[in-house]
């Protein structure tokens, strides 16, 4: 890879302490996103996708029961040695995030215009209302919202889910972050609306050259979008590679199971695979893992 890395994660571990003991949920993850690259992290529910994005965002580190270890480099800066305030300074400016359910993520007691103003203030404290509005209108038009003025004067609950999703995409990208985290964006929407908004998001990150870490439980959704895919299973990365090669020649049984689940858009989910496969419980600590050491997985 020649492009400089926007995000580089090495041997990332996460555990939660509770009264009953410590549970490790990430067992040493390696993952990188190059500048301008679109990377997908795919896995079933509970596999550790969201916690990974929260760590990159820097909010998981503030959870009192969470223990995070490993190297996380963002734009050449070591996230783990930063203070709480330094990590927060990155958010909303250099890193931003898109959420699963746009309507509930947007604050219901302020108008969309006020929310945009607030977000723009993260970059420029003194930005005026008028200037914020001008910029918001421009970005909303970019996500194909024609009546931007009406949208800015509305509350989130007055808009459709698809509209809110576009608002959120515009909001996440208005400060031109280096990295966009998208945690199952639009899963709460219906399939066509979701596809439309992903298309809009893709055009925008293309223009801005934003790196994206896209999280999904559905390989089908990321096929069009991602340059590369990581497959995560129970806190381990079990397969990685360019999108085409993952789809054409999946190596790991879990990836194959995910692929076979694609046509069934809802329900059913992924067929269960062998619980006690040694390949899954061994933490994968080496970055240069080859597909060969996975072949003894009994799901094959």
């Amino acid at each position: 890879m020649s492009a400089p890395l926007t995000l580089e994660i090495q041997d990332l571990r996460l555990s939660f302490k509770s009264w009953s003991g410590t549970t490790e949920v990430l067992h040493g993850i390696d993952l990188s996103v190059a500048s301008g690259e679109r990377v997908a992290l795919v896995g079933e529910s509970g596999s550790g996708k969201s916690v990974t994005s929260r760590i990159v965002l820097g909010t998981m580190q503030d959870v009192r029961s969470a223990r995070v270890s490993g190297r996380i480099n963002f734009d050449g800066r070591d996230l783990s040695s930063m203070t709480v305030a330094e990590r927060r300074a990155l958010r909303g400016r250099d890193i931003s995030m898109i959420f699963q359910d746009p309507t509930s993520a947007l604050n219901p007691v302020f108008r969309i215009g006020a929310l945009f103003h607030e977000v723009l203030q993260r970059r420029d404290r003194r930005i005026t209302k008028a200037e914020a509005r001008r910029r918001a209108v421009k970005l909303l038009q970019e996500v194909s919202i024609e009546d931007a003025d009406r949208v800015l004067d509305s509350y989130s609950f007055q808009l459709s889910g698809g509209m809110n999703q576009r608002v959120m995409i515009a909001m996440a990208l208005i400060n031109e972050p280096r990295l966009l985290l998208a945690d199952e964006p639009g899963t709460a929407l219906d399939v066509t609306v979701q596809a439309q908004s992903l298309e809009l998001m893709r055009n925008m990150v293309d223009r801005l050259g934003t790196s994206v870490l896209f999280i999904s439980h559905n390989l089908g959704v990321v096929r069009e979008f991602a340059d590369r895919i990581y497959v995560i299973y129970r806190g381990n990365i079990v397969e990685r590679g360019p999108t085409a090669s993952i789809f054409d020649s999946p190596k790991h049984p879990y990836t194959k199971a995910l692929l076979s689940a694609i046509p069934r858009l809802t329900g059913g989910g992924v067929p269960e695979i062998e619980e006690h496969s040694p390949a899954f419980s061994d933490p994968l600590v080496t970055h240069n893992m080859t597909h060969d050491n996975m072949t003894h997985g009994s799901g094959r």
């Binding site: 509930s104 108008r111 993260r122």
Partner: protein, 340 residues
């Protein structure tokens, strides 16, 4: 325009409620045993004298006719004569209501001004010592009624530590001309700053005693609502945008949770009117509640009906005001009921 229509609608329904209340209290006051004329004239009055008074008060007419006469007078702003004070009931109410309102309004203000921030603080530092402290305080205050706190506060802050006066609305040495009946306003209108300070000094302890349970209640409610709000995706989004904790607490957790809190606090506020009874008696506060007790014991029919009506009206008005405040804060209500 639409707000105005809503207001009209609310006032209309309130009027219907008031008419219902008037019928109810009018009948109840007349049905309970004891002859008001006999009580008013005393045991030594002759039967003729009593009969004469009963005639004058229309007590021998059927209940419906009596009510009709009462409504006719009420339309002219006349609630009849009080047998207890021998003055028009309207005059009595005008004298005693401001004292009670002053007390209740300050108590309501304290509920909001202390209760909401305490709850917010508690939620913000959930599980840490400020939270534990505030929760113990809140639980303590709601676990005893206002008159218990009144007695306790008098003992501690007026008796053992003579920081506050025990009785009355203002120092006896001061003579303030009566204008509105609200001591805080009248003293200012008279340009008497010393009077204002003295009035406030007299007001604080009874108002605080009255408010204390409400403060705890408001704090508990706000804490609960804010904790629920803190679980909302909009909070996570705010964190993802790197807003400061203070900003998130204020704009993303506190403001949305204000909506359910204020609704309940509004009801609690109206209940203060009822609780004011015993507090007024403990602090010898010359308010409506003390008057109310007096007239009930005297079976002073006109005064009972007048007192109950004015308390109901105040209750209803307070509710309308709170509803409007809530709808101002809650865009969902404002937009759905206020029109396009």
């Amino acid at each position: 325009m639409t707000i105005f229509r809503r207001l009209l609608l609310r006032l209309g329904t309130s009027l219907i409620v008031l008419i219902g209340v008037s019928m109810l209290i009018f009948s109840i006051a007349r049905v309970i045993p004891g002859d008001p004329a006999r009580i008013a004239l005393g045991p030594r009055a002759t039967i003729e004298q009593v009969e004469q008074m009963r005639e004058a008060l229309h007590l021998n007419e059927p209940l419906v006719v009596q009510y009709g006469l009462f409504m006719r007078d009420l339309a002219k702003g006349d609630l009849g004569i009080s047998l207890y004070s021998k003055r028009p009931v309207m005059t009595d109410l005008a004298e005693y209501l401001p004292a009670t309102l002053e007390l209740v309004l300050l108590a309501g203000l304290m509920m909001v001004v202390f209760g909401l921030p305490l709850g917010a603080l508690s939620a913000r530092y959930r599980g840490r010592w400020p939270d534990h402290l505030i929760r113990v305080f809140s639980l303590l205050t709601v676990s005893a009624p206002a008159f218990v706190w009144a007695v306790a506060l008098v003992l501690v802050f007026a008796y053992f530590l003579p920081l506050f006066p025990i009785t009355g609305r203002i120092a006896d040495t001061l003579d303030i001309p009566r204008l509105t009946g609200f001591m805080l306003i009248d003293t200012l209108a008279a340009g008497r700053l010393d009077g204002f300070v003295s009035a406030l000094h007299h007001l604080i302890l009874p108002a605080f005693a009255l408010a204390l349970s409400g403060i705890g209640q408001a704090s508990r409610l706000t804490r609960g609502n804010m904790i629920v709000t803190y679980e909302q995706p909009s909070i996570e989004m705010a964190q993802a945008y790197g807003f400061s904790e203070a900003r998130i607490a204020r704009r993303y957790a506190f403001k949305p949770s204000l909506i359910p809190s204020l609704t309940i606090i509004g009801l609690d506020f109206a209940a203060l009117l009822g609780n004011a009874f015993l507090v007024e008696i403990i602090f010898a506060w010359p308010g409506l509640s003390r008057y109310g007790v007096g007239v009930i014991l005297q079976k002073d029919l006109n005064a009972i009906v007048g007192t109950v009506l004015i308390i109901s009206a105040t209750f209803l008005i307070a509710n309308i005001i709170v509803d409007f405040l809530v709808s101002v804060i809650n865009p969902r209500i404002r937009l759905s009921e206020g029109g396009k």
